[in-house]
C-alpha cells in the first residue's frame, strides 16, 4: 500500500510488549533518581542512593542534612511531578478523545479556571497551603458542575458542542472573577503571591500536599486506564458508540469526571501548568499511533518523565525558581512545532 507511516511497533509480539511496559516503568524511575541528585546542594548518584537507603531503613538522624533535603524537599517534589505530569497528560488524552478534537486540553470544561479562582480567593484570605488546595479543588468541581448543567440539553442528551461552549463561558466567567480578586488584593503582600501561584509551581510540594492530591490523581488515572480501550470509540458518532454496546452518556460522564478529578487536583496543588495535556499525548501519538490501549500507559510515563525534568530545570536553572508553566511553554512550543512539521498533521 505504501502508505504506512513509520511508527514504533510495541504490540505485535509478546517480547515487544514486555519491553515496552518495562521501559515505561523504568524511564520515570531513572529520571527521578537522576533529578534527585540535582539541586542547589549538589550530590553524586552514590551519595543520593545511600541517603535514600538510610531514609528507608533507619529514618533520618539528627544532622544528616542530605537525607533531610532528599526526604522533605526533593522526594515529595518529584513524586508530585510524577503525579501532575502523568495526570495532566492522561486527562488531556481523554479529553481529546471525548471531544474528538485534537486541540482539547484538560481545562476544556473550565476546571482550571474554577480551581484557580478558588485558590486565589483562599490566598486573598491568607489561607494556608492545605486550605488553599481544598478550596481550589472544590471550586474546580463547582466550575465543571456549572459547565455540565449549561451543556445539558433537553432530556438527558448532552451535546458535545454545548459542553465545549459551556466550558468556554464558565472559563471566562472565572477568569473575570480572578481579575476581580487581583484588583482588590493588596498590591504589596497578596498580589505577588497570587500572581506567582497562577503561574504554576511545584514548590508547595510537601508530603501533605502530595497525600491530598494523590487519591484524586491516582484514582482518575486508574479509571482512565481501566476504560482505555473504550477511549478508542469515544471520538466516534453517538450512534457508533451506542452500537459498540456501551451507553454514550455513561461513558462520556465517566471520562469527563475522571479527567476533571485529575485536573482539579493538579491545579489546586500547583497552579496552572499549561501545555502538558496537549504536548505529551501528541508526542505519544506521533511515536506510537492512535491506539489508546498503548497511549494511556505511554502518556502516564512520558508525562511523568517530562514533568520531572521540567520541574528540576525550574528549581535549579537559576537562583530564584522559574514558574513551571513558563518553562513548559518555552520548551513545549518549539518541540511541538518541530514534531508537527516532521510528522505533518493533527489527528487523533
Amino acid at each position: 500500500m505504501g502508505r504506512r507511516k513509520f511508527r514504533l511497533d510495541v504490540t505485535s509480539t509478546r517480547t515487544r510488549r514486555i519491553l515496552f511496559y518495562l521501559t515505561l516503568i523504568l524511564l520515570p524511575l531513572l529520571a527521578g533518581v537522576i533529578c534527585l541528585c540535582i539541586g542547589r546542594y549538589t550530590t553524586t548518584a552514590g551519595e543520593t542512593l545511600a541517603a535514600l537507603g538510610r531514609i528507608l531503613t533507619q529514618g533520618v538522624e539528627q544532622g544528616d542534612n542530605l537525607a533531610k533535603i532528599i526526604r522533605d524537599m526533593r522526594l515529595p517534589r518529584i513524586v508530585l511531578a510524577v503525579l501532575v505530569g502523568a495526570g495532566l497528560s492522561v486527562a488531556g488524552l481523554a479529553f481529546q478523545s471525548l471531544f474528538a478534537n485534537p486541540m482539547a486540553s484538560p481545562d476544556t470544561l473550565g476546571v482550571a479556571a474554577g480551581a484557580s479562582f478558588g485558590a486565589v480567593l483562599a490566598l486573598l484570605f491568607d489561607a494556608g497551603t492545605l486550605a488553599t488546595q481544598f478550596v481550589a479543588l472544590l471550586m474546580g468541581f463547582v466550575a465543571v458542575g456549572l459547565t455540565l448543567s449549561i451543556g445539558k440539553g433537553k432530556g438527558s442528551e448532552r451535546s458535545l458542542t454545548s459542553m465545549i461552549l459551556g466550558g468556554m463561558v464558565i472559563s471566562s466567567l472565572f477568569s473575570a472573577l480572578i481579575s476581580l480578586v487581583k484588583l482588590v488584593a493588596d498590591t504589596d503582600s497578596k498580589l505577588p503571591a497570587i500572581t506567582y501561584w497562577l503561574m504554576g509551581s511545584l514548590d508547595s510540594a510537601t508530603w501533605y500536599t502530595v497525600a491530598f492530591a494523590l487519591p484524586f490523581i491516582a484514582g482518575g488515572i486508574l479509571v482512565l486506564y481501566a476504560i482505555r480501550w473504550r477511549l478508542n470509540i469515544l471520538p466516534m458518532s453517538e450512534d457508533e458508540i451506542q452500537a459498540s454496546g456501551s451507553d454514550v452518556n455513561t461513558l462520556r460522564i465517566i471520562t469527563a469526571l475522571a479527567s476533571t478529578m485529575i485536573t482539579a487536583a493538579c491545579v489546586s496543588t500547583c497552579g496552572q501548568v499549561g501545555w502538558v495535556g496537549l504536548l505529551i499525548p501528541h508526542i505519544c501519538r506521533m511515536a506510537l499511533g492512535s491506539d489508546n490501549m498503548v497511549l494511556v500507559p505511554a502518556s502516564v510515563s512520558v508525562g511523568a518523565v517530562f514533568m520531572i525534568l521540567v520541574d528540576t530545570a525550574a528549581r535549579s536553572l537559576s537562583p530564584s525558581e522559574i514558574p513551571v508553566s513558563v518553562l513548559t511553554a518555552i520548551i513545549g512550543a518549539p518541540v511541538f512545532i518541530g514534531l508537527l512539521r516532521k510528522t505533518g498533521g493533527w489527528s487523533l
Binding site: 480501550w229 470509540i233 451506542q242 452500537a243 459498540s244 454496546g245 456501551s246
Partner: protein, 369 residues
C-alpha cells in the same frame, strides 16, 4: 418461527414536530436482504435509528427473534445487531486493525479488553473481505470505498445475526458500489440478515430480496423488491416518472430503473388510502385504463420455476389473452410465450417479477399503441 427482525406498528414523531413515521410494519427472515428506499426527508435514517433503539418509537416495537429490543441491554442487543454508519471522511487516524477490533467491544463490559482470539478474528475477517493488505494503514488515509469496507468488517467481526447499514454505497464509485453490494449478498448467503438504506432503486431491485418504500407523507410499502419497485410506486414516492426495464446481454438480463422526468409537486398530496404492506398492489391499480398489448417470451431452465410462472400467470389471468408453453427436452428447458392486454404498470410489474426468478430469461415486447 419468529422473523429474524420485525417492526410492529412503529410510529415516530419528534415532540412538537411532525409525525415522521406512521405505522411501519415489516418482517425480514434470516439471510434476507432488505433495502429501505425513499426520497430525501422521508425518514430513512430516522427509521434505521428507531429500529436499533437510538431513537425510541413513540409507539410500536422492534423485535429481534421475536423479542422486544426495548427490554434488552445495549450489550445484548449490539452483540446480535451490528450497525454500519455512513463512511464519512474519518478524522480518526486509528489503524484499520484497531478500528475493526472495536467491533468486538460489544462482547465486553466497559472495562473489558480484547484478547488474542479477538485479534485473530480481526485478521480472519480482514482476510475474508480481501482487506489484509491495509491492516496497518491509518483510516484517515483510506478512500471512501476502502473505509466503507473497513466499517463493514468492523460490523461482521462481532458475528452479528443482523447487520444494519446506513447508505453503504453512497459516495462510492461504480466499482466500489458493486463490491459493497456483493459483499452484503455474500453475508446474506451466510445467514446474516442485511438491512440497508439506499438512494438507488436499482440497487434494491438488483440486489435485495425485500424492499420497503417510504414516502414523504409517512406511508410505507413493503414487499418483495419487484412488487415494491414499480413505476407507479416510484412516481408516488419520489415524484418522478421512471422506466423500469431490462438490459439484455446474451448471457443475462439486468433490471434497471431509469428516472426520466420529474413530476410537478402536487399540493393536494395525501393520496388514496394508505394501506401499508400490501403484498399485491398490481390487482388494485385503478385510474389508468389505457391498456397495451405485449408479448412476454420466456425461457425457463428450472422446472420448479416453470410452475411458479404458471401460478403467477394464473394470478394475472384477467389480462392474459393467449399463452403457449412448450418443453424442449434436448436442452432441458421450457419455452413459454404469453400475450397480455393490460395497463403498462401491470405489464412492467409482471415482467419485473418474472425477471427476478432464477434461471429465467425473458423479454417483453410492447405494441406501438
Amino acid at each position: 418461527m419468529s422473523a429474524a427482525f420485525e417492526v410492529r406498528n412503529g410510529c415516530f414523531g419528534y415532540p412538537h414536530g411532525r409525525q415522521v413515521l406512521k405505522n411501519v410494519s415489516f418482517a425480514v427472515q434470516k439471510g434476507e436482504m432488505l433495502a429501505i428506499l425513499g426520497p430525501n426527508g422521508a425518514g430513512k435514517t430516522t427509521m434505521l435509528r428507531c429500529m436499533m433503539g437510538f431513537l425510541k418509537w413513540t409507539s410500536g416495537q422492534s423485535l429481534l427473534d421475536g423479542e422486544d429490543i426495548a427490554g434488552m441491554s445495549h450489550r445484548k442487543l449490539f452483540s446480535r445487531v451490528a450497525y454500519v454508519p455512513q463512511a464519512k471522511n474519518a478524522t480518526l487516524a486509528s489503524s484499520v486493525k484497531d478500528m475493526v477490533l472495536l467491533g468486538r467491544s460489544s462482547q465486553y463490559n466497559i472495562f473489558g479488553k480484547p484478547n488474542a482470539k479477538d485479534r485473530q478474528m480481526v485478521t480472519d475477517t480482514l482476510a475474508r473481505l480481501g482487506l489484509s493488505a491495509m491492516a496497518e494503514c491509518s483510516c484517515a488515509e483510506l478512500s471512501g470505498g476502502e473505509l466503507q469496507m473497513v466499517l463493514i468488517a468492523r460490523a461482521i467481526v462481532a458475528e452479528p445475526q443482523i447487520i444494519i447499514l446506513d447508505e453503504p454505497e453512497s459516495n462510492l464509485d461504480f466499482k466500489n458500489q458493486l463490491i459493497v453490494l456483493k459483499t452484503l449478498r455474500s453475508l446474506a448467503e451466510q445467514g446474516i440478515t442485511c438491512i440497508f438504506n439506499t438512494h438507488y432503486p436499482v440497487h434494491a431491485l438488483r440486489h435485495a430480496d425485500k424492499a420497503l418504500l417510504l414516502d414523504k407523507s409517512g406511508n410505507v410499502r413493503f414487499g418483495s423488491t419487484s412488487e415494491v419497485i414499480t413505476e407507479e410506486n416510484m412516481r408516488n414516492a419520489f415524484g418522478v416518472e421512471t422506466v423500469i426495464g431490462q438490459i439484455e446481454t446474451p448471457h443475462n438480463e439486468y433490471a434497471d430503473v431509469l428516472a426520466v422526468n420529474t413530476l410537478p409537486d402536487d399540493p393536494a398530496l395525501p393520496e388514496e388510502s394508505s394501506e401499508e404492506s400490501e403484498m399485491e398492489p398490481m390487482t388494485q391499480i385503478t385510474g389508468d385504463e389505457n391498456t397495451r398489448l405485449a408479448t412476454l417470451s420466456i425461457i425457463v431452465e428450472d422446472r420448479e420455476n416453470a410452475e411458479k410462472i404458471n401460478a403467477m400467470l394464473h394470478e394475472y389471468g384477467q389480462y392474459v389473452i393467449g399463452r403457449m408453453g412448450m418443453p424442449y427436452p434436448k436442452k432441458e428447458v421450457s419455452i413459454i410465450c404469453v400475450v397480455i392486454d393490460a395497463p403498462e404498470t401491470v405489464i412492467s410489474t409482471l415482467s419485473g417479477k418474472l425477471g427476478q426468478l432464477r434461471g429465467v430469461s425473458m423479454k417483453t415486447t410492447y405494441s406501438k399503441k
